[in-house]
Symmetry: D2
């Protein structure tokens, strides 16, 4: 080929060129679109004779048709230089030399950079929609449980009374931020490199905006070198995916824990658990483990990406191109799997309200409420109140009969402040009632149902906004596909040129 007198070494064909073909089914539809948009533009700019452009576009649509019918459009010889050269050869085979006329003011570099962004856009839209579905299921579940009392935990120990709805609202807020971040990252992806050629532009008077528009991009990647070289958008996407994965791993951890025998708060129907191949009694909530495992994938891919890009020249290279983003695709798919599984698990969860309530009642989770009362009604400094209640609990004061209980509290207070204060046993019981404490926790983003509901409404609005943005992006893509089809038609239609 050109300045090279020999075919590539068989090892290169085996290890580098041939493996590209396994991805052809994913890549070729994008490549056909890019090629078509470029030829349309070259023709309109009169850089390519209209007749040649029309022929190229005809073969382009032929190949697209064959591809859609599942036919093999690429028939690799023993030796070749990878998918792109074979693709071009298919045109030459059908059209003769003019099959190689389209490679003007373009390069494998800008084409490769464009294909990666187009594929990633589609991945992000699908992932985004799955996340919206998960957020929807989560919000629905949270809304259904704003009154479902459970212990709130810190350091794995019961801390203060809460609700399942409040817990979920917290997790969903973080999850939504991750989804929104992924959506913002779409905008980083959405710049078209076409026209940058090898990374140094061209002297031919091309129309980059036209190509970008026909491919559904909202803008061009201006500097030719940056257009071809940059993969910072992939860092952004994978970091956002890693953040989403982190949230899911924590959610999975908690919900599996709460479905374990020791807690028994949650359960799932038979079709979402597994048994053991050896232990007949087992009902394993193993799907959360898959969620947790898959959700770790983006972090690994992010490191692979950063490692690969590190220290590369800011110029086109193989490792800075397709090799750097190769681990991204399976990682995004793994995350998508985690999202879809989580969605179904949230939809089908069975909540054991009674066990949650019993656990809460036994948990001493209202001692802060008691300390707060001693501050508000009895004028203790908080640290004194905390000290007194702490001593009282340590002595088991809270599990004694009502009067003895109130007395021993008074003693503890006296030890700390020098002055006894005896609460009426009935009042003490009321203060220590978890349900009352939940209702009272209206401030500071606490679990009172009104507070949680308000937060959930805010989340719903944001999810709706995200959903709207995703729909708009999908719409833009569809519109671009239509525009491209029309533009191809226009080039091919005999009468149009004269008119234009």
């Amino acid at each position: 080929m050109g300045c090279l007198a020999r075919d590539p070494h068989p090892l290169l064909v085996e290890l580098l060129h041939a493996p590209q073909l396994s991805g052809a089914k994913v890549t070729l539809p994008y490549l056909l679109a890019v090629d078509a948009a470029h030829v349309v533009m070259l023709t309109r700019q009169r850089l390519l004779p209209r007749r040649v452009g029309a022929e190229l576009l005809r073969v382009n649509r032929e190949l697209l048709g064959e591809l859609r019918r599942g036919e093999a459009v690429i028939d690799p010889p023993a030796s070749h230089r990878g998918l792109y050269m074979l693709y071009e050869q298919a045109f030459i085979d059908r059209l003769g030399p003019s099959g190689g006329a389209a490679h003007l003011a373009r390069s494998r570099n800008d084409i490769g950079a464009t294909l990666a962004r187009m594929r990633l856009r589609d991945e992000l839209l699908v992932l985004g929609q799955e996340l919206v579905a998960l957020l929807g299921s989560g919000l629905c579940l949270a809304s259904a449980h704003v009154h479902t009392a459970m212990a709130g935990f810190t350091h794995l120990q019961p801390a203060q009374p809460s609700t399942l709805g409040h817990y979920l609202a917290g997790v969903l807020d973080e999850l939504l931020r991750g989804a929104e971040w992924l959506d913002v990252s779409y905008e980083h992806v959405d710049a078209c490199p076409m026209g940058a050629g090898a990374g140094l532009g061209t002297s031919l008077d091309i129309d980059r905006e036209l190509v970008a528009g026909l491919l559904g991009f909202s803008r061009i990647a201006e500097n030719a070198t940056d257009a071809v070289v940059s993969r910072d958008y992939a860092i952004q996407v994978l970091a956002a995916a890693a953040a989403v994965g982190t949230t899911l791993s924590r959610l999975a951890q908690d919900l599996q824990t709460w479905s374990s025998a020791a807690y028994g708060f949650l359960g799932w129907p038979d079709d979402l658990v597994s048994t053991s191949s050896i232990m007949p009694q087992k009902r394993n909530v193993f799907v959360w483990e898959s969620v947790r495992g898959r959700a770790s994938a983006p972090a690994g891919a992010l490191v692979a990406l950063l490692m690969t890009l590190k220290g590369l020249p800011f110029a086109n290279s193989v490792d800075g191109g397709g090799e750097s983003t190769a681990p991204m695709w399976p990682a995004l798919e793994a995350l998508r799997t985690a999202v879809r599984l989580s969605c179904t698990l949230l939809e089908r969860v069975e909540v054991a309200r009674h066990r949650m309530l019993t656990f809460l009642a036994d948990s001493k989770a209202t001692m802060t409420a008691l300390a707060d009362h001693l501050v508000a009604a009895e004028g203790l400094a908080f640290r004194q109140a905390h000290e007194a209640v702490g001593r009282w609990v340590a002595r088991g004061g809270d599990v004694a009969p009502p009067t003895a209980s109130a007395d021993s509290l008074s003693t503890a207070i006296e030890e700390v402040t020098g002055e006894p204060r005896t609460l009426a046993p009935q009042l003490l019981r009321t203060i220590l009632d978890p349900q009352r404490a939940i209702d009272a926790a209206r401030y500071g983003g606490g679990p009172a149902h009104s507070t949680t509901r308000r937060q959930l409404r805010g989340l719903e609005r944001r999810v709706a906004g995200l959903d709207g943005r995703l729909r708009q992006r999908v719409g833009s893509q569809k519109k671009a596909t239509r525009l491209l089809a029309e533009a191809i038609e226009a080039v091919s239609a005999p009468g149009v040129e004269a008119a234009s």
Copy 2:
């Protein structure tokens, strides 16, 4: 303390509590501000008697004064439970029991979460300003070299003619996107957790917006659990920092390469290079190595963070709190060092225009221009033109005398197309002139000076925008500091209470 009958084990003091004190100088100013804002709010909400609030604030300002004068405000006993408890003790020592009155509707959890965000905001502002300075130096250098011809590279080999300015414009575009991403991450940091308590809110009627405002936050972190637990903002910050680090490592790689003896394109004055302790002739451009090394730090810290957060319960924990973000601080400092060093290196670089031009002239970098000409003027399909020029170059046709050169090119064309085409030797020379090719590369974001200038103007506008946002953020912080001082004053002033 409270329910615990014993002091902490000496090992906990040695390994966990005491080491917190080494960070006291950084932490205490933030803690004093948080405490003051909280006490102001408690007083205004009448959750704390005005007299007690005023006393607490008086001690707060005393401690701040002592801290500023470099005095040791914390005097740790042999056994203690870490910085916060010692801090509170300092109030109790000076005020008696009412020194412990402020810990109402708050917890070490929300305080810790708030301190981390406040510190990070400041780090981001300083880092942002250094990045603006670096971008400024880079744009200045790029503008000065939009005409400085050099080979553009791909795969380390000369590819097509370019300019130093065009190269820099590409790198700076990616760098600016990283800086803008860091700036967007500021908004994720900028939500105030105060009021969330241990992560489950409070029954006390607090005013979270007031506290947030006095601390310069633009909003509150709504859900109490999310407020205390989430560190997704740190993922965002470190990912953006890793992206900036990646760009710097690539810039460093290129510029050090170009200053090596084999290239000799760039140099730096004596005060920015080092010699060897053993090799007297050495002038090592080692600073780019430090840039490259430090720029790798954020990626490591990001992994440490993701690793630490992975699978944690979505509830307060030690590792999900301060331990998870501990590696972030040195990593951001390392990145800042890389940015500052890069800025000075770009300001002081010496460009060897002549060597760059000589290298370019010898580099066959205009062969694409020749192929393009054969398409445009001679009607070859691009792939044919490429093939013919490739053969001609492989045979050394381009280094022959003018006429022989034109003849051998014609032969190569004939081999490929079946038809000879002889270009006038003078025309051939013109086509192969690198400077002409640079001037012509006006399209596709290429290196023609007008194209580069246009891009640089766009970058300048964006840098100015970023600078403006940073200044606004700094201004907001200063305003909040003033508001807090006034609010403290208002609580302490004898006449105000009556009036309010």
Copy 3:
């Protein structure tokens, strides 16, 4: 300095050179030893006049003395080129020009490479000893609990009966492998780079083995470039540390879970738990969270190291040297903290045998034993037995009164095999008894106490072996220190030269 006409730029001093001084206290003792060994060797090889050698060694010992007395041996001027040049200057200040005579056949490169390995050897020995202590505590605890019945878990659900001792034996096996791996990594560290100079050797007839021996190395790093450049030993060390960290994070996860209120299997005394600043009832087993958090540090440092080394020239560079290993030191310290905390937690754990037993009895964990019985005594194929027992459990057959229970089991068997089999109720009860199942699980590395004891004895032997190797290494270091002192003495003693 030499070919450079100017002092370093203030920014380099601030950001690169001056910060080296903060580590002087750690570095200087190693540097003094390296310097002394090198000067002894130069003198013996007659590359340095004996008189000069003796003077240099005298100052070396002076500086060591001052350092030990806590005096500042380095007094940095405003501008300097880092710790090493200041160190050499201290000799020149005291001896005149001959203070600079030692830098023969050496370079900052081989010195720096040697210092890192010496420091790392010491770190590994200390870490190794802490690990031996932890393994000792763990084995002691495991031995004490080979009879302590508890549920064995899979997927967080009770699986089959086990013992606390069996669980610990499993974890300790993995932990010991990690400790052994760290010990093997010591041998990778233990090669001396001295003599390699800048990485290209020397024409001076030096004795590398002598220097290596005086510094306690067991061999030299042969190739000069490899000696100076390689940091693969650090990859090995940090990977082993990450493996140890992984094991600790899993142990921490389990033991904290089992100490949570829902399990209540384990507890710790008051001096190893914390309470909350706000919730008076809290007894947080937070130390395991610190263990888990610190144990994640090596993984982050490993990534930082790999990232930094990636793609560097195989030649000396700043980022390939000290900067690449900088994150290793705090990460190893974090891991050491995790090890020490774990050791104390294992020593002081309080085991609630009764709660563990009650939980086990309620857990249906003997259903596999029942299925095994149906195979062995009743001739069912295992899959049939599993199916039948599974159905029986799902219908609550196991919680019915004895006879009904046996009957319903028979029914389930009939459904699966077509033939009923009724077990005697007493036999059925015996089969389902967890304690019996533990005693029977003697095979496949199961929890029968004899099996666990045998495994523990094996672990004890291996820990003793590891301990022995560590003691030997410590001994070798001490011996080398003695040899170096004697060699210094010999150079300085007036009569020896004549004699030698």
Copy 4:
């Protein structure tokens, strides 16, 4: 299935169970071997009737035959629970209920753990052999170039004279250590989990050593929980792979740099370079970029593994099992590709000795030799000699005519020491001759050819040792395969049982 009344949810089938089948071709041969060894053992231990054992083994061999002929042995229904259950079903389909008889004293847990180790052993052997080939090519190249002079570099600048052979010897030493580490990691992999069941052993009197031996393992994984849970061997393997990858990335970086136009030291024939699709003159040494890119894969997989394992219970789980090691397989394949490409590149490299020599001659790389001479022959302290030579070089003294050169050197010496020393011009020229300096650098692991040859011989011995160990391991595998075949035969042969 058993206690579960419903088929798995379609989503679980789609996302978790069905995808397992795509790996069946890789997994099934291992599974058939494991199954066969287990059944042989059960039969010998009389835990399974001989007749049943023989039937199971017959189907086992049938399936193996079908698999080898490329037939589909698994025909998945619409709903199923993954590869293992389908595999067992194939036996039940052919044998009736006794098809499910083999699942005694085993579980998917120990089987899965065993399959992963078996596959990894094979991967390590293949990778090891490729590494031995690469080391062989490298040593061959190094031996051929122990006299090929080139500049040795530090900080990308020429430092001292060296040879290509010396450079390669250094890299190969590190590479060999990595290969040896991978080989040591094989021993960590080589322990058989079979018999551990679900991780809690069994009450059935099995013979674990027999199964281990029939599967070619050198020992059993003793503790049942450890056997099923531990993946520390994968950390070890991936860390060693990451170390090898790091070395390759550095080698790739250097060799590609030296083949760039500015250096021109190295080249490759046409079948190992590529041209550009757009730039006809291009001869891109792009394969080193693929090497560098692929060589980064193990680091990413290592992070994914550590991330996944972090904080998991030390008990069987889905994410702690197959999901944790899933990223390991493609990463090891990527590394293998990098190794194979590197091997061919080293075999086919073309060395431009003349350009390397010219570059060296212009590089001032012998200034250290001059300083050394001033110490040895003129009695200067090294720091003085360094200073004087440095000044002389900075003034261009070394490029002046001989006598002027010697004079200006004398002046520089006088400035530093107060005393002039004039070297004979001829002597000065000799000292500065690079070839002489290379010959002299016999010490400290320098580039003198005798020194390099000695080191290469050492490396050759170690490579031969590694090769021998690999061959032995391959031999052990083959022997085990034979033993298993014989054991199957023995169970099936009618007369043997009576005899045994």
